[in-house]
């Protein structure tokens, strides 16, 4: 039933929201088992317009609004997937996905294992996540580690329109359930790129910017800030390599460790809180596998260990360029000045 589409040969200029919309449309076109549903995803096209026009184009049997109940959305998606369909569902906001947590952790993540692989649940749960858009409370959580800590789920987050397209197409094609985290602060940033979902990028990190002195590791909404920081660091004499993890589970240790073994220094950057945040896992794995290559402890630049702040205070919580530059300066350069000759 699934056909491989010819990749779009020309480049497109579009936003992440537009790229996600294109990915859903292409998946709906190519595979009649694909369904899209959730709250306001039909007539309205989603509160972020990611599903804009899909109900009109593919019909209400395949793209539809549900009653307002997140456990209901995920629970019924599980039943549909057991019956051979491939649901792509939307949770309207990060914190609004919590009512579905039991269905996600106890059923979606475990059914393959519980049934010796007999029940497969190719479901994608799209969740707009993270802050930086001036949202009021419960609209800005970075909830990634709730999902990465759950075996059986893939957790993916794109940082660019082209990746958003490729990763969502691959997530829909995946035989495993995928938590697809969309950094809402990046929804409207444009990129000119060729959309292509072939090749295997679903569980691979990518080097966004090559560098030699240190490795900055980030993902999702914080990636753009991290790239800005790398440019600023260059002016201060540090050559920073930037890795975009893309897949949070599984974690692409190979790509990250290869970089850190070359640079000897690493900083993990994310908007989520620091304590037990994703950076803790990255730092632990790097200290286990790259200890003798490290010139300094792996540092974390993250949100504070507080409930997500009100919009007029969020700029103090989310890591900005300066906080990343401060961390770079703390990477024990005294004994070994960076190759570029800069440093503190």
């Amino acid at each position: 039933m699934t056909a491989i589409a010819e990749p779009t040969s020309t480049s497109d200029t579009l936003t992440m929201a537009g790229a996600l919309n294109r990915a859903l449309a292409d998946a709906l076109t190519e595979d009649e088992r694909v369904l899209v549903f959730g709250e306001d995803v039909g007539t309205l096209g989603g509160v972020f317009r990611v599903t804009d026009g899909l109900a009109a184009r593919f019909g209400e049997a395949r793209v539809f609004d549900t009653p307002l109940a997140e456990a209901g959305i995920v629970g019924t998606a599980i039943g549909m997937a057991m019956n051979g369909l491939r649901p792509v569902v939307e949770m309207q906001f990060d914190a609004f996905a919590y009512p579905a947590f039991e269905q996600i952790t106890s059923h979606l993540a475990k059914l393959r294992n519980r049934t010796h692989g007999r029940v497969e649940l190719p479901i994608v749960i799209r969740i707009p996540y993270g802050g930086g858009i001036g949202g009021v409370e419960h609209h800005c959580d970075s909830s990634e580690v709730y999902y990465t800590h759950t075996a059986g789920l893939r957790v993916v987050t794109p940082s660019s329109p082209a990746d958003a397209y490729a990763l969502l197409r691959q997530a829909i094609d995946s035989p495993d359930p995928v938590i697809f985290l969309e950094p809402k602060r990046r929804y409207w940033e444009k990129e000119t790129a060729r959309l292509d979902h072939r090749g295997s990028t679903l569980d691979r990190a990518v080097v966004r910017r090559p560098g030699t002195d240190l490795t900055l590791i980030s993902y999702g909404g914080a990636l753009g800030t991290t790239l800005e920081a790398a440019e600023a660091a260059q002016e201060e004499g540090y050559s920073a390599e930037v890795i975009d993890l893309r897949s949070l589970s599984p974690f692409d240790l190979d790509t990250v460790a290869a970089s850190v073994r070359r640079t000897g220094r690493a900083v993990v950057v994310h908007g989520a809180s620091r304590f037990c945040g994703y950076g803790a896992e990255v730092a632990a794995q790097l200290s286990e596998t790259c200890f003798h290559y490290l010139e300094a402890p792996v540092l974390r630049v993250a949100g504070f260990d507080i409930p997500y702040p009100a919009p007029n205070l969020e700029q103090h919580h989310l890591p900005g360029v300066d906080r990343i530059l401060d961390a770079i300066e703390r990477l024990q350069w005294d004994d070994s000045a960076p190759a570029a000759g800069g440093g503190v």
Binding site: M80, G84, Q103, H116, D254
Partner: protein, 367 residues
């Protein structure tokens, strides 16, 4: 909805008293709204209940012998367990709970595979696609949503398949049940909710669970027809489930059925029901035994003679003996299996952890 339509919606309400076809003493109770199953079906119900109870007794005994980690008995609920299952067609699906092992076996799943969960060897021991039975659900009410989704998918695919989901009185308080009833009604999904109201959610009686006139009364809130039935009357349970399945298959949407029954045993072997209920109450329900009444009814009508009854009991006994024998064989579990079905393909981290465990098991000592 207009005022007239709202007024007309009272047809969604259940009857004041539970529907029944055969009274506790085995005498017939004519009901114009229900069709009494024919003699052959009644005999199948009787046979199913006898086999179900024998299975249940055997599982309880296996627990006492340490062969099962835990067993939640459905003794006393045979009419609801078997009556519902035998009303299903082969293409229909069952979404059971942990207490419904008897129903799963009646649906045709190998009893040893059913007991894998309670033996503690794995979580679900059977292939759901072989007999159209979803894994038994342990967290309450989560299976209601799976049933609705499965049924809705069947409709989307144009397949004639109805989902029957089993749940208990306690599960009706869970949010998932509310969401499932609502989704099912909005979508007009071909699903039948069979609530076995056995009086207790572990120790909590129904009076502390709900203030509703009956659990079936909840249906009207979702715009769903509801039926209140004597859950110890296998003929009546079979008749109402069969009706609901036919309605669902005809595209007329879901039905909520409350079968009023009683959990004769404790919640599980680990529970002690004497801490929260009187023996007198249990005795009352024992007098309403589902098997005894159908036996009486069939015997009075010459449909069940001693030879037939003995043959049915002997067969149930033989099945229990086979089960006992098979369950007394020690199983060999492969620890490598732990890593095999987490993802479609094991991740690098899982491959490494599998190797670590293998090394640990191979060396026996610390390296």
């Amino acid at each position: 909805m207009t005022t007239t339509e709202r007024a007309a919606a009272s047809h969604l309400l259940p009857s004041a008293e539970p529907l029944g076809l055969i009274a506790a003493d085995g005498s017939p109770v004519p009901d114009p709204t229900l069709e009494l199953p024919d003699g052959e079906v009644l005999l199948r119900l009787y046979r199913g209940m006898v086999a179900g109870r024998r299975f249940d007794t055997q599982a309880t005994a296996l627990t006492k012998q340490g062969r099962l980690a835990v067993y939640p008995s459905a003794r006393g609920q045979e009419a609801a367990e078997i009556g519902g299952i035998l009303a299903l067609r082969p293409q229909d699906w069952l979404f059971p709970t942990y207490r419904d092992s008897m129903a799963v076996v009646a649906r045709g799943v190998d009893p040893v595979e059913v007991l894998t969960l309670l033996r503690g060897d794995w979580h679900c021991g059977y292939d759901p696609y072989r007999a159209n039975v979803a894994p038994q659900c342990t967290p309450l009410a989560t299976n209601t949503l799976h049933a609705v989704g499965f049924a809705h998918a069947a409709r989307i695919k144009g397949e004639d398949s109805v989902s029957l989901v089993l749940l208990g009185d306690g599960a009706t308080s869970e949010g998932d049940t509310h969401e499932a009833l609502n989704f099912a009604a909005v979508w007009q999904a071909p699903v039948v909710f069979l609530v076995q109201n056995n009086g207790y959610a572990i120790s909590v009686p129904l009076s502390k669970q709900t203030a509703a006139p009956s659990l079936a009364h909840k249906g009207i809130g979702y715009g769903m027809p509801s039926v209140l039935v004597d859950g110890n009357d296998a003929a009546a349970v079979h008749a109402v489930v069969e009706q609901a399945v036919a309605r669902a298959a005809a595209g007329e949407g879901p039905t909520l059925i409350e079968a009023v029954t009683y959990r004769v045993e404790s919640h599980t072997n680990a529970d002690d029901a004497t801490r929260y209920r009187d023996r007198a109450e249990v005795e009352q329900w024992l007098a309403r035994d589902p098997i005894a009444r159908l036996k009486q009814y069939l015997t009075d009508r010459g449909l069940l003679d001693d030879a037939r009854r003995q043959e049915i009991e002997a067969r149930a006994e033989a099945e229990a003996a086979t089960l006992r024998e098979r369950m007394n064989v020690d199983t060999e579990l492969d620890p490598a299996e732990l890593f095999r079905h987490v993802y479609a393909e094991p991740t690098a981290a899982l491959r490494q952890q599998a190797a670590e465990l293998t090394a640990e098991l191979t060396t026996g000592d610390r390296a």
